[in-house]
């Protein structure tokens, strides 16, 4: 009998197929095969992107030239624009606003063909540090209410350029999913006076069956209510609402657990595409952070989301998170 499981934070139900679970070899996913070509993110092509906003680079090298380790530029085709005043207005029964926001691209390394598993831990640290730097900077702009960090790896996961990169979008309102998480977490906090994410971490550490990796500061696990097969959550053990408040020690620990988790995932699924996003608390007065807990959500692109999911917000997970964790744990380095 399949199981229905309810997400304790947002209340979404998910169907977990426990009868005929999919094994890794049962998934027919679109392989991510690089096709090469001219890349605006490689050394020597800096002129092809908008000028850099921020950069870690070798001393003595000039902006917008080679010699950098991590580079942030404005998105050439931004979904939102940085200039202007926010103008919210009505149109009959509809609400709208002009599209104010920031849309940045963070080029994680100069290496066109290196995904996170192939980078050194120090290189991943610089990348994560830069994510924090950009968040802290964008947070100063009072027009913005939310900063979204997300990464599409591989064309099937929506990446339009091959060279690995992460995107940051600052939004003038907290998005619906963030508000739902906040609302759920606040409800729980009001009732129990505890952070629901801290409780999830406690239960996962006790249950053990869904844990993939654990270090001093982080756990990586397949969430009890996964929307997608082999979905993975990385959570800081220390309670904190904002990703950008991460400490130096935590950055190293996160770089290590992220690298190892993705290495395992990509060993189970060759040429896999995936998305990950960082969930962090809204900024500039939208919420208290006592009850929110930032985390990272990794979503492998193994299945198609179809009519049922769109219509109901119900998801079907063909591999139970317990089984997924077992496969991931079994991967030898």
């Amino acid at each position: 009998m399949a199981e229905l499981r309810r997400d304790p934070v947002v209340g979404r139900w998910v169907i977990v197929d426990t009868d005929h679970p999919n094994k890794p070899e049962d998934f027919e996913y679109e392989q991510n095969i690089p096709s090469g070509g001219l890349c605006p993110f490689c050394y020597g092509n800096e002129f092809m992107t908008p000028p850099e906003i921020s950069c870690f680079r070798d001393p003595g090298t000039a902006a917008n030239t080679p010699g950098w380790q991590v580079r942030v530029v404005a998105n050439k085709f931004p979904a939102l624009q940085i200039e202007g005043k926010l103008d919210r207005r009505g149109l009959g029964i509809y609400d709208m606003s002009n599209g104010i926001g920031a849309h940045e691209v963070l080029i994680e390394s100069p290496y066109h063909n290196k995904d996170i598993p192939e980078l050194l831990v120090q290189e991943i640290e610089s990348y994560l540090m830069m994510c924090g730097v950009r968040c802290a900077d964008l947070k100063k702009d009072k027009r913005f209410k939310y900063i979204m960090i997300f990464r599409n790896y591989g064309a099937p996961a929506g990446a339009s350029l091959e060279h690995p990169h992460t995107q940051l979008i600052a939004l003038p309102m907290a998005p619906k999913n963030a508000l739902e998480e906040i609302r759920g977490a606040r409800g729980y906090y009001n009732y129990r006076e505890r952070c629901i994410f801290c409780d999830i971490i406690r239960q996962e550490i006790t249950d053990k069956v869904r844990i993939v990796l654990e270090n001093k500061y982080f756990i990586s696990f397949c969430p009890f209510v996964s929307r997608f097969p082999f979905e993975i959550m990385i959570m800081p053990k220390k309670h904190s609402g904002y990703f950008c408040h991460i400490s130096g020690d935590e950055v190293s620990a996160l770089a290590q657990i992220l690298k190892e988790t993705l290495t395992k995932l990509k060993k189970v699924f060759v040429n896999l595409s995936y998305n990950y996003i960082i969930h962090s608390a809204p900024i500039n007065g939208e919420s208290d952070v006592e009850y929110y807990h930032w985390h990272m959500e990794i979503m492998p692109k193994l299945t198609q989301v179809a009519g049922f999911e769109w219509g109901t917000g119900f998801y079907l997970d063909q591999t139970s998170p317990e089984l997924a964790a077992q496969y991931l744990k079994a991967v030898k380095d």
Binding site: E3, F77, F150, R151, A157, I277, W310, G311
Partner: protein
């Protein structure tokens, strides 16, 4: 300047991008895989390859699971949910769990090996639309079920699998799904404040503004929604207020069939036969018990959402519930209005 637009019912914000705007004809679907199916379990004469039928229109042969049918409904061979058993709601630490009880049925829309519903006759689509009502009503007799979702996945990109035989699916769920609840709650809030149905107001405004209307015909209107998530997203709404799909009279069903066929043909012709999903949004079963509110018949309005799969949904959308639509709905409506079918 891009625009942010909010869905008036569920409050989802959408970015209508202007920077990366493409012309409508640039969205045209890629080359299809033209390979013919070697074997189709849904064709007439192959009935033994599906589970036994739960419903059929058989004008030529009354024998169940034999040939001679126009339309058949069979349980899914790999069901998401199972019909037998109790729900057994329980806790697991801080998590909630229940058994996967439900129904999952496949509506085989024709005995012919036709891929796209757009190519069925109006008469045949009418049978399909009637069958949805019959099945929803029948499943509603089972009080374990709260909702029946009717949907279609057409083409591989829409999760429709490889077999090119047009069919739709019904799933009865033991809880009201989250998306359905959001829509009901949004509609109720609007009703509480205005004492009017938000969808009726939406239709009125669209018919005045006209720029997002694709088609207005025989009591139905097809629009590109103001806060569309996807390029060429299309909604079909009945102009007359009604919360429940199954309450349509025979004439309305025939009219809906004509409207649906026209819209599907416009998408097929204008966008080179794209993959698509459609979903019927209708009121849940209204039984007197906890969690049911009495105004549902006034504040909710059934409709169909059609979503061509032309773009990829990526991390941003999954993470935020914020969508970036690369084309203003006004342009897609204009484009679709002009496609002659």
């Amino acid at each position: 300047m891009p625009e942010l637009r909010k869905d008036p019912v569920i409050g989802r914000w959408v970015i209508i991008s202007t920077e990366r705007a493409l012309r409508p004809d640039q969205f045209s679907s890629q080359v299809k895989d033209e390979k013919e199916d070697l074997f189709c379990p849904f064709c007439e004469g192959k009935e033994e390859n599906t589970p036994p039928e739960v419903y059929a229109i058989r004008p030529r042969n009354p024998t169940r699971n034999g040939p001679g049918w126009d339309l058949r409904v069979v349980p899914s061979i790999s069901p998401f949910l199972r019909i037998e058993g109790d729900l057994d709601r329980r806790g697991n630490g801080l998590y909630d769990v229940m058994n996967g009880v439900g129904a999952h049925e496949i509506v085989v829309e024709t005995n012919q090996h036709i891929a796209n519903m757009a190519d069925l006759s109006e008469e045949q689509i009418t049978k399909v639309l009637n069958c949805y009502s019959d099945r929803i009503t029948d499943l509603g007799k089972d009080t374990r079920f709260k909702y029946v979702l009717v949907f279609k996945n057409y083409g591989k990109g829409a999760g429709g699998g490889g077999i090119k035989h047009t069919r739709s699916q019904l799933i009865a769920t033991p809880v009201n799904p989250k998306r359905v609840k959001e829509e009901l709650t949004g509609a109720r809030l609007y009703y509480d404040y205005h004492e009017r149905c938000v969808f009726c107001d939406l239709i009125k405004q669209e018919l005045v503004q006209k720029e997002r209307v694709i088609l207005e015909l025989d009591g139905f209107v097809a629009v590109s929604p103001f806060a569309a998530r996807f390029p060429f997203e299309t909604w079909i709404l009945p102009k007359r207020h009604c919360s429940d799909y199954t309450c349509m009279d025979a004439e309305s069903v025939r009219n809906l069939s004509r409207v649906l066929k026209t819209v599907l043909l416009k998408l097929k012709k204008g966008l080179n036969d794209p993959d698509y999903n459609y979903i019927i949004h209708t009121a849940p079963f209204r039984r007197q018990k906890a969690g049911y509110w009495k105004t549902i018949d006034y504040d909710y309005h059934w409709h169909i959402e059609i979503m061509p799969r032309l773009t990829k949904v990526a991390g941003f959308e999954w993470g935020t519930g914020f969508y970036i639509c690369p084309l203003p709905p006004e342009e897609t409506a204009k484009f679709l209005r002009e496609v002659q079918v």
